[in-house]
Every structure is written in C-alpha cells, then in structure tokens.
Amino acid sequence: MRNGYLIAASVVFVLAGTSRWAEALREISGRLEEMPGEEGYPAYLGRRLAEFYERSGRAVVLGPDERTGSVSVVGAVSPPGGDFSEPVSQNTLRVTRVFWALDASLAARRHFPSINWLNSYSLYTDDLRNWYVANIAKDWPAFRSEALEILQKEAELQDIVQLVGYDALPESEKGTMDVAKMIREDYLQQSAYDPVDTYSSIRKQYLMIKTILDFGHMEAEALKTGATATQVAAFPVKSKISKIKWTPEEQVEAFIKEVEGDMAQEFAGLKQEIKVQQ
C-alpha cells in the first residue's frame, strides 16, 4: 500500500471481507480473554478500522520533482443478514466518506449494480461540483439532484401505490413514477455481461440522463395540458430510449439526436391530438 506514495502512482486498494477480518480480530480477542465491547468484538475495533482507512490519501512524494501519489481504499463490508447497524458497518461508516449500499432486494430483482440510490451517499459531491462543471457539463450537478429528487419522490409514492394502486394516482404523479422507472431501468441498471453496457463513459452517462430528464419535462408539460400518462407511456420513443445503453460509445451522439427528434415529434403529435379533442 505504501508503494503508492513511494513511486507516486495512483493506487486503488480493494479490501474484500472487512467483516471476516473483524471476526478474526474477535477470535483473537476472545482467546486473549479480553473484555468484549459490542457483539463480542474487542473494544478497539473502531480504532483499528480507523487506523486502516486513514492510510488512504493523496500526498506529494519526497524528492526534487513534485509528484503526487494516491491510495484510494474501497472496503467491502458484509454484515450478517445485511444488517448495517452492527459494529463493523457502523465503525466503517464513521471514518469513510462514501457509502455504496448494496441492496439484497435489488439483487433479487436482478437490478445490477444493486446500489441502493437512496441509502448510498458521497460526501465529495460538493467538492466535485466544479470538476463536473468543467469536465462534463454545466448542468450535471443540477441533473444529479433532479434525478435523485425524482427517485426520492418515487419511493414516497410507492407506499401509496401499494395501498391504492397506480391507477388511483393523479396524472402528474403517474408521470413522476414513469420517469423514475426510466431512470432506474434505462440509466442506473447496467449489464456487466454486455460488451457495450458494461462500461459507460461519463459523457454517455450525461447524455443518457439528459435525455430521460428531457422526456420527463416534456411529459410533465403534456400532462398539464390534459394528456394522460397512459398516452405518453405508449410512445414508441420510450423503447428507443431504453436502447441507448446498448449503443456503442461512438454512435451514441448520433443516436441520441435521433431519439430527441422522435421525442419532440411524438410530443408535438400528442399536443395536436389533444387540441383536436378539445
């Protein structure tokens, strides 16, 4: 691990099985007949975890030229029964700044990567804002928070849907549910077995989320003027949007142009239809 700082490389250190490591610690502690802390783990569990994670960082290496080396640590914690309230998870969360919560129910539905979008967080979001603006697009931070808001809203609506059913929702909320579904299925979900979908460049990701959110805006607009969510759901362009992720990087810009053209056309058609009805 220290070599990252010695030769000024950028190293990612992946530690799979912090929980097993902690169990070994517990076993040794037990044999030493130490007084246990929580759940039989030794009282110094938190300190040892913190000491480990604190070795990550970015430093200017010693030497005449100013080179920087960095070590990023990705630790996998697998708590028994997926219960994040146990000591190893909690002590890890206290010293780390990014949390990707893998969710068993997402995995069961074969949603991969099964990172729960509501429970996960990154405390670097604000620090990276400028980088995103400079390197991807001005509106990336806004897109991120808008997408997250839609998903949050979906989770709230889901409770109602389970009681009264989707059909009982007002049209605008049906629209939100539909867009959230597109974000989940056409953007967040990726297949690691597909040569194209396994890796999405950040540029492609930006174009994808932009298309979906644009669709959402147009849909909201249409619903306001009297269209129904069912009408919008029948749009052929929706299946095209879900194909973006299978589109290779070099064709994606052209394909999205096509999708946006279709989108504008189909929404315009719907508008015409409503006008005629009225």
């Binding site: 007084m35 802390g37 929580e38 300190r47 994670y53 604190e54 960082g57 309230s85 509501l118 009264v164």
Partner: protein
C-alpha cells in the same frame, strides 16, 4: 521529589502497562516511558495500589517489552502551559505543536482536569448568540455559556454545520473578543483539513486554537484532548476575558476510547460495553461550559456526536442528552430531501432558549412565532403521513393548508445557503412568511396584538 525510574514492568496488555514494586505513584500522575531503543512515550497512572501501578500509554504499546522498558514517574498530574500565543496554533492530541511552530512556554502550567465550577458562582446564561441559521436562531436559540450538542449520523453534513456556526456566531450587543477552541478526537485528516481551511478562509484561524487527534493517532490521547482544549478555553475565557466557542468532535470516538481503556482494565461493562462511569465522565467535560459571576468571559460548547445507526437510544447520545442543555438534531430524511442544514426542529431543543429571546434581546414576537411554527410543522408532518395513505385529495381544506405550511417551512425556513448569514430579523420575517397561508383565526400561539403588528410588516418587507 526526584523522579524515579522503574524497570519493573510486569505485563503489557493492550494500551496498559502494569508496573510492579511502585510504592508512591499518584492517581493521574504522568509518566514517561522509555522503550528498548530509547524512544519516549507519555503515559498516565490509571490505578495505583500498594506495589502496583497501572499505566495507560498515550501511543502505541507495540514493541514495548517487559525487560527493557523503563517507566519514570514524573510526580505531577497532566498539565498544559497556557498563554496568549496559543491562538492561531495547531496542536496534537497531547498539546505538542503540530504546525512546526515552537513549543508553548509559559509560567502558567494548569492542571487539565479542571476544578468544578462553584454552583453559587455560576451565572445563568442569557445572552443571545446569532448563528445566522434560522432553525437554531429562530427555534432552538443558542445562548452564551450553553452546551448544545449536534446529534448526527455518518454521512450527514454536521461538520459543515459546525463550521458555519463557528464562522457566523456573534453576539448582537457589542464587539467583544471572541475565539474558537477546536478539539478533534479521532476524526479523519480530511475532516480536520476541512475545518482548518474553513477557519483560514474566513480569517478566523488567528483567533482559533486547534487540538487535533486524528483517527490514525493513538486512541488513548483522545481522553486528554478535550480536557486540554477546555483548559485552554478556561484560560482564554476567565483570564483573558474572551468569549470562547468550544467545538468537540467526535464525542463518539471519545467514548469509544473510554470503552477501550475500560475493557483493557477488565472492568465490568455497562450498556453496549461502555463503562458504568461514562455518564460521570461525560459530565466532567460538558459541565465545564458556562459563565462565572463577575468574570467577563464565557465558554459555549458545541459537542458533535455521530449516533451509530442513527439510534438516539444509543448510550452516547442518551447520556449526552441528560447533561447538555438540549440538542440540535441532524436528520437523514431532510438531508436526502436536499435540505441544508438538515436540522429536524421537532427532535431538537434548546433548554435555555427562553432566557435569550424576547423583547430587548431578539424581538417580542419570537416565542409566540416559534411555538406557532412548531405547532404548524408538527401538524403538517402528521398530515403528510396521512396523505401518504389516503392521498392529498382526501384531506380537508385545513389539513391541506397545514401540509402546505410544512412544505413552505422546509423550503423557506429550514433550507438556506451554506454561506447565508441570516439576521434574527430576517429569520423571524421568513417565519411570518411561512405561515402566511393561515388565516388569523388559525394562528393560535401568537397574541393578537403581535399578529396585528408583525404580520403586515412581514408581508410588506420581505420579497419572497
């Protein structure tokens, strides 16, 4: 008394050394430990019995052996040299310079345990501190000499909140000297850098003293760090007549260090393995906040603690809440909803609020308005839960109104910029704006003459 060296270490266990054949070790006495290769580490006597002293080592006990380790009892308890020169400096968890500056030399070497404040001399805190944060100023007012912890969880912006309070806190009456003492226990170097950068940017660093024990530093130091910080704060407050804001973060790490020592000493564990004296120990820190009659300075404490698994029944937040004068509760739901600062006012409380507000301090309508906002928000949140089941359409018109007010409360009153410094007038006017949808008859917590006087004013003066 000449310090004596002992080479009679009998056992090394975790962070502890057991030294035999010691007759006169004092409880709490500092020791200097020299290992086989001549490196020196500090330690403190934890337990003194006839012929045995148990020494807690501030540092790693890795490599200490029984035969060659020598322990020198220094004949004094832990002390710190205090002086004005400490402002603008960064120290480690034991009070040694961390910023490559010189060691502090002073005639005044003060015991860090601190003597308890005479209850008779304690002055009741009553001066309003404006933090510029609406949820604190308007609903959970902080006063000088108060101890108001921030209850948070991992991944929540409690550091940003604490830094904002440190940047913006001021007393309205006069420009008196004000300084910040910052004690970090077991936080990451990134978090520590964040605070230093924040203090630098606002030029506050020159009136700040920092004690940093990072998570890679020895956990045993964490027991001393807050005491060093509070001793320094007491010097600045009562001898230099400064108003000191002490930020202690993260108290959870402090308590874990306490638990680590307790376990190493084979003490019978209490709740969640924390020692039975956790409450007593915490009170010796928190109770050092306050004001003394006849002295100009004051110590206001903001301890930060992260609740494991957001569980407020966990012993650390639970015991802290018994000692402190309320709490500021950082909510994960609000944070997810994109609200900064995500302070949940319904869970928060300032027990000293009433002393600091009202006519002549903030504004005469403050109490009533705060109560009204509490009532509306609580009602609105209940209605929100109801509407999640039956749908918004099924609510009565009044219920929908409260739902709207709760929404406005979160969007207009709670939410604000990280650099937005609202005056108390602004905060209260926004509060009036929030309840604007209500009719006069629905505003029951505010006296009619106040409604008459401030309601119209609010709608004309604010632009929202």
């Amino acid at each position: 008394m000449q310090p004596v060296s002992h080479k009679t270490v009998n056992q090394v266990a975790g962070p502890l050394l057991f030294v035999d054949k010691v007759e006169n070790a004092a409880y709490g006495e500092m020791v200097e430990i020299t290992n086989a290769v001549g490196e020196r580490i500090r330690g403190q006597v934890l337990d003194s019995r006839a012929g045995l002293a148990i020494v807690q080592v501030f540092g790693s006990t890795m490599g200490l052996n029984v035969g060659q380790t020598s322990v020198r009892f220094l004949g004094e308890t832990a002390r710190i040299s205090v002086s004005d020169e400490m402002l603008g400096r960064v120290f480690d968890g034991l009070g040694n310079p961390r910023d490559k500056g010189p060691t502090i030399v002073s005639k005044q070497k003060v015991e860090i345990v601190g003597s308890a404040m005479n209850p008779y001399s304690r002055e009741e805190p009553s001066e309003f501190i404006q933090t510029g944060i609406s949820t604190i100023d308007g609903m959970n007012t902080l006063v000088r000499g108060q101890k108001l912890p921030i209850f948070s969880g991992s991944g929540l912006p409690h550091n940003a909140l604490a830094a904002q309070i440190a940047r913006q806190a001021k007393v309205l009456s006069a420009s008196e000297s004000f300084s910040v003492v910052f004690a970090a226990m077991g936080i990451t170097s990134e978090e520590a850098n964040y605070f230093i950068r924040q203090f630098e940017e606002t030029g506050a660093l020159e009136r700040t003293v920092l004690f940093l024990n990072l998570s890679s530093d020895p956990s045993m130091e964490r027991i001393l760090t807050p005491r060093l910080a509070l001793t320094t704060a007491e010097f600045l407050a009562y001898e230099r007549e400064t108003h000191v804001l002490v930020i202690l973060t993260d108290m959870t790490n402090y308590c874990e260090a306490l638990r680590e020592i307790s376990a190493a000493r084979d003490e019978v564990p209490g709740r969640r393995g924390f020692p039975g004296y956790t409450y007593t120990d915490l009170s010796t820190l928190y109770e050092r906040a306050g004001k003394i009659k006849g002295r100009k300075g004051s110590i206001t404490q903001i301890p930060i603690l992260t609740m494991p698994a957001d569980d407020k029944t966990h012993p650390i937040p639970d015991l802290t809440g018994y000692i402190t004068e309320g709490q500021v509760y950082v909510s994960r739901d609000l944070d997810r909803g994109g609200v900064y600062p995500p302070i949940d006012v319904l869970e928060s409380l300032s027990r000293l609020m009433n002393q600091g507000i009202g006519k002549g301090r903030t504004r005469e309508d403050h109490r009533g308005l705060a109560d009204q906002l509490y009532a509306c928000y609580a009602q609105g949140k209940d209605n929100r839960a109801l509407s999640a089941i039956v749908g918004e359409e099924a609510l009565s018109e009044t219920d929908r109104k409260f739902l709207k007010v709760a929404e406005r409360f979160e969007k207009m009153f709670v939410k604000q910029g990280i650099n937005e410094d609202r005056s108390i007038e602004q905060t209260l006017d926004i509060g009036w704006d929030v309840i604007a949808p209500l009719s006069d008859s629905e505003i029951k917590r505010i006296k009619p003459e106040m409604i008459e006087k401030y309601r119209r004013r609010a709608t004309t003066t604010t632009t929202r």
